[in-house]
Amino acid sequence: MSDASTFEPKIVAYVCNWCTYLGADQAGTNRLEYPSNVRIVRLPCTGRIDFNLIIKALEMGADAVLVSGCHPGDCHYTAGNYHARRRWILFRSLLETMGIDLERIHFAWISAAEAKKFQQTITEITEKTRQMGPYEGYRRVCEAGV
């Protein structure tokens, strides 16, 4: 495709305030460069992350979505990430049946101290998504007339 060399994927990252967001902040403080393709959306806890937000990110044109929060056992609200994990396990099976590309939906545990992991995760996801190309599938769903 003529666009392949200029395609810049849009990545939406829903992150929890207490771990991953602070990890991203630390990456900034430590001058660890990561691709600016990512749009970070801060929420109090992964437990609050409604699966609908993942669908909305795809509706708005995201080519990949990351959901990230505190490691199990470290949740600021004690058990939010356990509830989230359970939901993610179930939601992935629904996405699979719908034919929505699971290779574009990522989940991670990134703590406030793991700036490097944040940098690596964003870099890897961006590169992988660049290889995969824009997410045509969901775009067609959104643009279809009646």
């Binding site: 509830h83 993610w88 396990i89 049946t97 989940f107 599938g137 067609r140 769903v141 959104c142 279809a144």
Partner: protein
Amino acid sequence: MIEQLRETCKRLLEEGKVNVVIGYGQDSPGGPVHPVFVTRTDQVGRLVWNDRCFNNLATYLTRRDIKALGKPAIVVKGCDERAVIVLEQESQFKREDIYVIGMACDGVGSPRLAKCAACSVHMPRFADETIGVSNTESTADGRFAALDAFLQKPLAERLEYWMNELARCVKCYACREVCPMCYCNLCIVDKNRPTVLDTSATLKGNFAWQITRAFHQAGRCVSCGECARVCPAGIDLSLLNLSLARAAEEHFAYHAGMDKDTPPVIGSYALEDKENFIL
């Protein structure tokens, strides 16, 4: 069985044990079967029982207009009874406030509906009174046969399938209204200020709605198949619900509506929940 059912209901109404019987009726012999609400002993003749008793009557237990009629007796097949268990698990009523009449069922539909071939609850398990004996062997094998066949398709074909099917969805919400588990006073799709889901019947809006409804049923749907039966656009919605039912079974050994004392799958968690997809 019909005579025994009518006798039971007559007795329950006469003794004042219930105010209304939620059961099945028919306007004419051989005609279509539909829900009926019997409040007087002279009406018990309306009650029928046959292999066209498709409706899942549990959906009426949470409806305001029906609750206003008073304490109900409800006629259930094994599949419907599972919905009653889930409603009890979710504290929608106290068990002693309803009277469950369980009907032994050898399947409905002619030919038999797909759900009946893989049914493990031909005999109700928690009824206050059970009528009849089922001669059909109970098996849960093959419940996911249609889903397995569907998942063989490549990813792009699966999406294409849903794009074709959901293009016909008109957002009538028959699927929601017929479902016993959809009892929210304000459904998320009706919410505005701010609006969460598009109400329009565009493909985007239909995807958002069906994904949301399926996921809100995760671990709660009892696979009664009513949503797929009533869809006026002929969409096989059960595939979505079955995929979540299977995920709940595979990952959490959870089968909705089998035991009211098991913690619900979404409302609880375990430290050992599987993690292999998380970076």
